[in-house]
């Protein structure tokens, strides 16, 4: 990180309780501009709850956080203008055409009028999809679908894009091509906040945090975490930390 001094995401003792259950237990971290930040954790560790707070979808119980300079308590609607979101489970509408998907998501992300039509044409051009503008997304090859989904998630040029398990179930070639898109976006200065269950993908992150029972148990570069645990892969790092979980999900 440190590509830019002012953090794009800042969380300080961010906490979310549901009745007596503390889903997110005082997490603190910063993410710098253009950084690829891997947000790992076992099922039930609190990742989704934390991500929902950062995306302005859930009010924290206590602690502070800002996303693109916006407060997660008071500026939830403003946050949504500064972020993009994509997951493998939900990214594009299969029964809409390519151009319809771009227009729909562009509109949702607050683009309109000339800017939206300009961006639509630009995207079709950059992706080499002009010939496919009227094609239903369901009949696009997977690689193109992914490119389109990712491009649409950053159509409004957000500071940050949140990727929630973007490569689940994807074939190994397409999975790697997708990560090359992520690295290109990061090289252009977009901050990437990504969750994954593929531990080889954790290696592609600038820094990785690992949540256990609602807390961040480790946060550093993959190479530092590997050395600190005295192991050779992120998979072993993850398993040695996640095994400490006490919480019965």
């Amino acid at each position: 990180m440190n590509r830019n001094d002012s953090p794009v995401i800042e969380a300080d003792r961010l906490t979310k309780r549901f009745d007596s259950f503390t889903a997110v237990d005082g997490i603190s971290f910063c993410v710098g501009a253009g950084e690829i930040f891997g947000f790992l954790g076992a099922n039930g560790a609190g990742k989704t709850t934390a991500m929902r707070m950062l995306c302005g979808l859930s009010q924290p119980t206590s602690g502070r956080a800002t996303v693109a300079g916006c407060d997660v308590y008071r500026e939830q609607e403003e946050i949504k203008k500064h972020i993009g979101y994509m997951s493998q489970k939900f990214s594009l509408y299969a029964d809409l055409r390519v151009w319809e998907n771009i227009r729909l998501f562009g509109g949702i992300y607050g683009l309109s009028g000339k800017r939206l039509s300009g961006k639509t044409e630009e995207l079709l051009d950059v992706l080499g999809l002009e010939g496919e503008r009227n094609t239903l997304v369901s009949s696009l090859p997977l690689g193109w679908k992914q490119k389109l989904a990712f491009s649409v998630a950053i159509i409004h040029e957000p500071e940050i894009v949140f990727l929630d398990e973007p490569t689940g179930g994807v074939d190994p070639v397409a999975r790697r091509r997708f990560w090359e898109l992520i690295m290109d976006a990061s090289a252009r200065g977009i901050t990437v906040f990504v969750t994954t269950h593929y531990m080889d993908e954790a290696e592609y992150c600038d820094r990785v945090s690992i949540m256990v029972d609602g807390r961040i148990e480790a946060l550093d570069k993959p190479s530092v975490l590997r050395d600190a645990c005295g192991v050779g892969t992120m998979d072993e790092v993850f398993r040695s930390l996640a095994r400490r979980a006490k919480r019965s999900e």
């Binding site: 074939d171 990560w179 090359e180 090289a187 993850f238 996640a242």
Partner: protein, 309 residues
């Protein structure tokens, strides 16, 4: 006896081919993996074997029974089927679900408890909780108990580890290993290439076809036709595109902390590579010959397949 025999099965949905002439055998008491990404046809094959879907052409037998003509006998307790989507009764408790599935097959939880004990003890603290209120990992364990409680000869597990974290994935494979030792034949599908190593034999599926089948180690050894190297430098992002432009390179992909470089056939010598990378401005360069993994093998096949399309 083979627990599953699949011969030239094809299936299309409208104009979309889901399976194209797939054949495979699962031996009795074998742990067999269907490995492949989404859209490979794994679920379609599982559903045909579970007698929930009719093949267009070809035939399949489960425990010697034909999936089309003997479906009643297959369903009457020979198989335990765990679909990819959680499909238990959400508003019954953990224990009620297990007892219900036992009663459907005219048996009891107590009678077959030895088979589920290892798994059940992990969810027993929540036995009075409604299934809909369990976490993902707990739901999987409950679903496995329900699929096992009538002591089936063959278990069909459709992507039990998808979306599951690495710790729970290892736990699940440990459980499958124990079940296998108790004599249950298991056919399990997964999109995770690294899980291939946990299977006795595997079939690698892509785009409706079975690309290869056999023991994971044997498939890898047969794949070592051209040289493969693990390459690292201090700038992994730049290294990827630089390696792809190396004159002897066939392909290069990121593989966790390394990049895997495949050399063109006939080019087995990487001794010039380090100097070449130095000239490109790289530092901290390491180049090591490695043996092919299932994932390397699979990626080669996908690239070949896509080029032919």
């Amino acid at each position: 006896m083979n627990s599953v025999v699949v011969q030239n099965i094809s299936k299309a949905y409208g104009g979309v081919t889901a399976l194209e002439s797939v054949s495979l055998n699962v031996g009795g008491g074998e742990l067999f993996g269907l490995i492949g990404p989404d859209g490979a046809g794994k679920t379609t094959l599982m559903r045909i074997l579970a007698t929930l879907l009719l093949p267009d052409t070809g035939s399949a037998k489960v425990c010697g029974l034909d999936v089309v003509t003997d479906w009643k006998d297959i369903r009457r307790g020979r198989i335990g089927y765990m679909p990819g989507r959680f499909s238990l009764y959400q508003d019954l408790t953990v224990e009620e679900n297990i007892r219900f599935f036992a009663s459907v097959f005219r048996t009891t939880m107590e009678k077959n408890y030895d088979l589920i004990r290892d798994i059940y003890v992990q969810i027993a603290p929540f036995r009075h909780r409604r299934a809909g209120r369990l976490s993902g990992g707990m739901k999987q364990k409950l679903a496995l108990c329900c699929a096992l409680i009538h002591r089936p000869d063959v278990l069909l597990l459709d992507e039990p580890t998808t979306g599951v974290d690495p710790v729970s994935r290892v736990e699940l494979w440990d459980m499958l290993g124990r079940l296998k030792r108790q004599g249950v034949g298991i056919l399990v599908s997964t999109p995770y290439m690294d899980e291939a190593a946990r299977c006795d034999r595997i079939a690698l599926m892509y785009s409706g076809r079975c690309l290869s089948a056999g023991e994971p180690g044997v498939i890898c050894r047969e794949a070592g036709a051209s040289a493969l190297y693990a390459v690292c430098s201090d700038n992994m992002y730049a290294l990827l595109s630089d390696l792809r432009s190396y004159p002897g390179a066939l392909s290069c992909y990121a593989f966790g902390r390394e990049h895997h470089l495949r050399l063109k056939p006939g080019e087995s010598d990487a001794s010039l590579l380090t100097g070449w990378l130095c000239d490109k401005g790289h530092s901290g360069i390491t180049v090591e010959p490695i043996s092919v993994t299932i994932e390397d093998w699979f990626m080669d096949k996908i690239v070949q397949h896509n080029e032919q399309e």
